[in-house]
Amino acid sequence: RLRPSAEGDGGRRNHYRARLGWVSIAPPKTPSALRFFLHKLELCLAGPARRFPVAAVDEILRDVVGSALREQRYEPGPCREAAKNIAEVVKARVKALAVPRYKIVVVAHVGQLGGQSLQVGSRCLWDPQSDTFSSYVFKNTSLFAVTNVYGVYFE
């Protein structure tokens, strides 16, 4: 994903490609700078040092959603707050796992069990080698909750 530049066009032609993950750079001149450059290049090409911990995130979802909604009956006001709280708390706890260079998106749906039919679907444009998601569905006698956490590697 890194490539030294040979073009003398001021980098304009490489501007678009540069923003797609290619960087145009002149090769460094000193041996120590070259060693540093090669080390960074190797790190970038290796992908994430630590993968997104799906199992730990599953556990966080079970814990946060369960404790927020286990004893809760559906009421519009409290459930609106619960959806916001679940999203914030899950994000904070996943962030606390401190997985380097991962961006996190949490989406929480809380709804009333009223006999209606509903479908939740999502699709992503990303790198399946580094990016992933975790999902949890909760139900009690009066409400349901679907929570998804997406972990996206910042290349």
Binding site: P76, R80, K95, V105, A108, G111, G121, S122, W126
Partner: protein, 113 residues
């Protein structure tokens, strides 16, 4: 080292994404009444159409698109999201659409790479 500027091609434009989402929803379910047998296909269609139009923008972003289609029968639904990202480059857009028989909520998240 060359410097590359953060021009328009590197930012998430909410209005642009909002119109992409609205077109995808109208194209997939506009004018239709809720049918349980079709909802899976509709959700897939909305999400895929949105994602392919976002890809065509050619911006250096990874995207997450979520779609909820719910039958209208008086039951309530609440959706919330929370993100850990770079505020200067990343963004989100949510569109809420409805007709007489169903609700459709589509959220698109763009994360710069």
């Amino acid at each position: 080292m060359d410097e590359f500027q953060t021009g328009e091609e590197a930012s998430f434009l909410v209005d642009e994404v909002s119109s992409i989402i609205k077109e995808a929803i109208e194209g997939a379910i506009g004018g239709n009444a809720y049918q349980h047998s079709k909802v899976n296909q509709w959700t897939t269609s909305v999400v895929e159409q949105t994602l392919s139009q976002l890809t065509k923008l050619g911006k250096p972003f990874k995207y997450i698109v979520t779609c909820v289609i719910m039958q209208k029968n008086g039951a309530g639904l609440h959706t919330a999201s929370s993100c850990f990202w770079d505020n200067s480059s990343d963004g989100t857009c949510t569109v809420r659409w409805e007709n007489k028989t169903m609700y459709c909520i589509v959220s698109a998240f763009g994360l710069a790479i």
